[in-house]
């Protein structure tokens, strides 16, 4: 820079103070010694000053500024006082014109399409979805008040896991004036396999025959998990019902709304993407994807409508990973009918339901749902239970058991210390209605036992009090002498007279060691439970999304375990070096960090975790053997922490 003239840009940037420090120093140094560049800089400054002077002649009339400010404040005032619903609405996700043909399809499927209309409003709820679906349905009939009877042929093709095809006929009778509709789903031979009806705005009912017997069930129960839809893919008659109930059971909060793509999320972390695409021949396609950040893609539904001439064809493809089913609905006939010709039994077939209604309400529910959820659903439930336990800290504090029954039910059971703790854990399971919880406080467990035994004959169990002064011949920890020597050693500054006494320091040290070991053991137990529950013979067989969730839990427990073991190593390392015969323990603790890094991929982790558990347990046993007080009495041998107060 010293021997090269500055460019105009550099000079201007120097005057404007826009050069970097290094460059500024160099340019200044150069202009101090170079007359030419200094003159050029002066010329630039002249121009700048002249322009600034000329521009300064302009003024802004004060009255204009006042008026402009008032206008601005009015505008943002309008914005602030405007209610959310009155704001500029985003473009409709689906245009009713495009879906005119769809409205002639199944009324319950229109409800799904109605969702996409509702989703443009804030906080769409199930009730809003229903209302909007009804409104859309009504708005699309050619003449208001006229009833219609439409007939469809339906093909239900299961593509995965086994390919099979079933054909059926669907008749839909609708009376929009009285908000009634009825749907009959018959096999080709005329056998009724499913019916749904709404006798009015008050409710809707489904008549289903999964086991040759029809059961009536109001559509009021929510489905919490979309995997149930995947399971229902095998039961073609239950699919639409389960999906509909799932949509109703969630409160979808809009995340992003645009003309062709909308994203919603519920409070359980499931994200619902609704995307409108144009298929071949400009046919509209609605893609509904439910994704959970932990479990991955839950289900994908692709709804496609072909409308060629008067023949409408609707294709819905449900893809739940290992289960894929496709519905193909084609309208074969549509006619307007007078209300007089409507049969009352079309909308109120309660008499039929009375005849075939099962005995008890529990059986109704059992017959409506698949008898045993699929593996995907069971693993999902298990993972949800473990995540809820993890969230509440119960996976390391309380030893709550997570079990799976033969019919696929997941149960979490155990005893917790207090009612408050129980409520904490129950609140962590608030969104998981599919998991059975039998969590009890000690008092409840005792009452339960008494009730089972009939009459309580047992004496109340007295709390075991251990008198440390007289509990045994040696109430001190096994390494008492060595630890005292270590604590009073030359390398350990002894703050005589100012700090705690030597016995207190010894107890603190021992309790700290035991506490760290306990904590590490708790994480190791949690890891072992995960390894046992999520390690099928073939690790690749875990349903999609499950390994990611398990990996998250395992990773967090491993991190905690690493921290505990590192702290234990730091605390114990120096002491163990002074303790004769403790080489094995020292070696085990030292190499534990290497053992903990064995989590290498979903295929190898269960075995690695089980090995890791054995190591941690070995260390835990050794630590207790060294630092826990041995109480030798007639009943045998037990170990107690060094000081109960600190525990």
């Amino acid at each position: 820079m010293s021997h090269k003239h500055c460019s105009d840009e550099e000079l201007l940037a120097l005057l404007d103070g826009e050069l970097s420090l290094r460059l500024e120093r160099a340019v200044r140094r150069h202009t101090q010694m170079c007359w030419q560049c200094r003159t050029r800089a002066a010329h630039i400054e002249e121009v700048v000053q002249k322009m600034a002077e000329l521009a300064g002649e302009a003024y802004f009339p004060p009255h204009k500024l006042v008026a402009a400010r008032k206008r601005f404040l009015d505008r943002i005032g309008c914005h602030r006082t405007m209610p959310e619903s009155a704001g500029p609405k985003p473009a409709l996700f689906l245009r009713p014109v495009s879906w005119r043909a769809l409205a002639a399809g199944a009324a319950c499927l229109v409800a799904i399409a109605g969702l996409s209309l509702v989703v443009t409003r804030q906080g769409a709820s199930a009730a809003a979805i229903l209302r909007e679906a009804t409104r859309v349905e009504h708005s699309l009939y050619p003449e208001r008040g006229m009833s219609s009877l439409q007939t469809f042929t339906l093909e239900v093709e299961q593509i995965k896991p086994v390919r099979k095809l079933a054909r059926a006929r669907v008749q839909i009778t609708s009376d929009p004036a009285q908000e009634r509709y009825a749907l009959r789903w018959e096999e080709e031979n005329g056998k009724l396999i499913r019916a749904a009806w709404s006798p009015g705005a008050s409710g809707q009912y489904v008549l289903s025959s999964p086991s040759e017997r029809l059961a009536r069930m109001p559509l009021d129960s929510a489905v919490q998990r979309l995997e149930d839809c995947g399971d229902a893919c095998l039961e073609e008659s239950g699919l639409e019902d389960v999906l509909f109930r799932w949509l109703r059971g969630h409160r979808w909060e809009p995340v992003s709304l645009s003309a062709d793509f909308a994203v919603f999320a519920d409070r359980q972390g499931t994200q619902l993407n609704l995307e409108r695409q144009a298929g071949p021949d400009r046919t509209p396609i609605l893609v509904l994807t439910a994704v959970n950040r932990v479990r991955g893609v839950l289900v994908k539904a692709v709804i496609q409508v072909y409308d060629r001439g008067r023949r409408t064809r609707l294709v819905i493809r449900f893809d739940a990973g290992d289960r894929v089913t496709e519905f193909r609905l084609a309208r074969t006939r549509s006619e307007l009918i007078s209300r007089a010709s409507l049969s009352a039994s079309s909308f109120e077939p309660d008499r039929l339901a009375e005849v075939v209604r099962p005995a008890g309400p529990a059986r109704k529910q059992a017959e409506m749902l698949p008898t045993r959820p699929g593996d995907s659903a069971i693993y999902g439930l298990l993972l949800d239970a473990y995540i809820a336990l993890h969230r509440s800290g119960a996976c390391v504090r309380e030893q709550l058991a997570v079990t799976t029954s033969a019919n696929g039910r997941v149960t979490v059971s155990g005893i917790v210390e207090s009612e408050l703790r129980k409520q904490e854990i129950l609140s962590a399971f608030a969104g998981l209605s599919s998991v059975d919880l039998t969590i009890q406080t000690p008092e409840e467990a005792a009452r339960h036992l008494e009730a089972r035994a009939g009459v309580s004959t047992a004496e109340p169990v007295a709390e075991i009090e251990v008198d440390f002064a007289t509990a045994g011949p040696d109430p001190r920890i096994p390494v008492h002498v060595e630890l005292l020597k270590y604590l009073t050693g030359s390398n350990r500054p002894h703050e005589a007279g100012t700090g705690p006494s030597l016995e207190t320091r010894e107890a603190e040290f021992a309790n700290r060691v035991l506490s760290l070991s306990d904590s590490a053991m708790a994480h190791a137990w949690a890891l072992r439970r995960l390894a046992q529950d999520f390690s099928p013979a073939n690790p690749q067989a875990l349903p999609a999304g499950i390994p990611a969730g398990v990996e998250m839990l395992v990773g967090e427990h491993l991190n905690a375990l690493r921290e505990q073991q590192a702290a234990l190593r730091d605390l114990l390392g120096a002491f163990l070096m002074t303790l004769p015969g403790s080489g094995a323990l020292e070696e085990a603790i030292r190499t534990q960090a290497q053992e903990l890094s064995v989590f290498s991929g979903p295929g190898a982790w269960p075995d690695s975790v089980l090995r890791c558990f054995d190591e941690v347990r070995h260390i835990h046993d050794s630590v207790y053997a060294l630092f826990a007080i041995s109480l030798r009495d007639g009943a045998g041998k037990s170990s107690q922490p060094a000081s109960r107060e600190d525990r």
């Binding site: 940037a13 002249e46 000329l54 521009a55 302009a58 500024l65 402009a68 601005f72 602030r80």
Partner: protein
């Protein structure tokens, strides 16, 4: 940011930047009404963005960028068309009260529209980085454009100090601009 807070913040900016913004918009839009609308839109847009919780790193550049986009959207024209309109249609109006000084307008005739924009923004005490953000160009481009503009302006100033008949090109420029 809360609505109250956002309103207070944007109103504070409004007092000091609105005149600059209207002058700038007036120059590139050619109409006071359009310039005022664009300036209003710029401040409203900033307010809405703040209320929605967006982080605006440089509010000044953001507003100028919105204004510029509003004007371009209004005209829906290319840079070349803008240049033509600027040269033949946008004339100083002494009575609208918001135009840049008459002399400045005269000198601006020698600049390209991009250079003029950069100088206009620099006259509003904007830093290179802010100008770059407002115009969507790099900081070094701003530096280059400014240096080039200063060079041209210096020549124009030197020329204006000479006798009129000595520079027929400049004369035709001025005549064309004033008509």
């Amino acid at each position: 940011m809360q609505e109250e807070e956002a309103q207070q913040f944007v109103t504070g900016l409004f007092e000091s930047w609105y005149p600059c913004l209207v002058r700038y918009a007036r120059r590139i839009a050619g109409s006071v009404e359009l310039a005022e609308d664009a300036a209003q839109e710029g401040f409203c847009s900033l307010y809405c963005a703040l209320v929605k919780g967006q982080t605006i790193e440089n509010p000044k550049a953001y507003i100028f960028c919105v204004v510029r986009r509003q004007v371009a959207k209004k005209f829906n024209m290319t840079n070349h068309e803008t240049e033509l309109i600027r040269k033949f249609l946008v004339q100083p109006e002494a009575d609208d009260g918001v135009v840049v000084g008459y002399e400045v307008q005269r000198y601006f005739a020698v600049l390209t529209s991009r250079e003029e924009e950069v100088v206009l923004l620099r006259l509003q005490a904007m830093k290179y980085r802010e100008i770059a953000q407002a115009l969507g160009i790099s900081r070094s481009s701003v530096n280059t454009l400014l240096a080039r503009a200063v060079l041209k302006l210096r020549k124009a100033m030197d020329a204006s100090a000479e006798p009129r008949e000595a520079n027929p090109t400049r004369d035709s420029y001025v005549t064309q601009t004033l008509q």
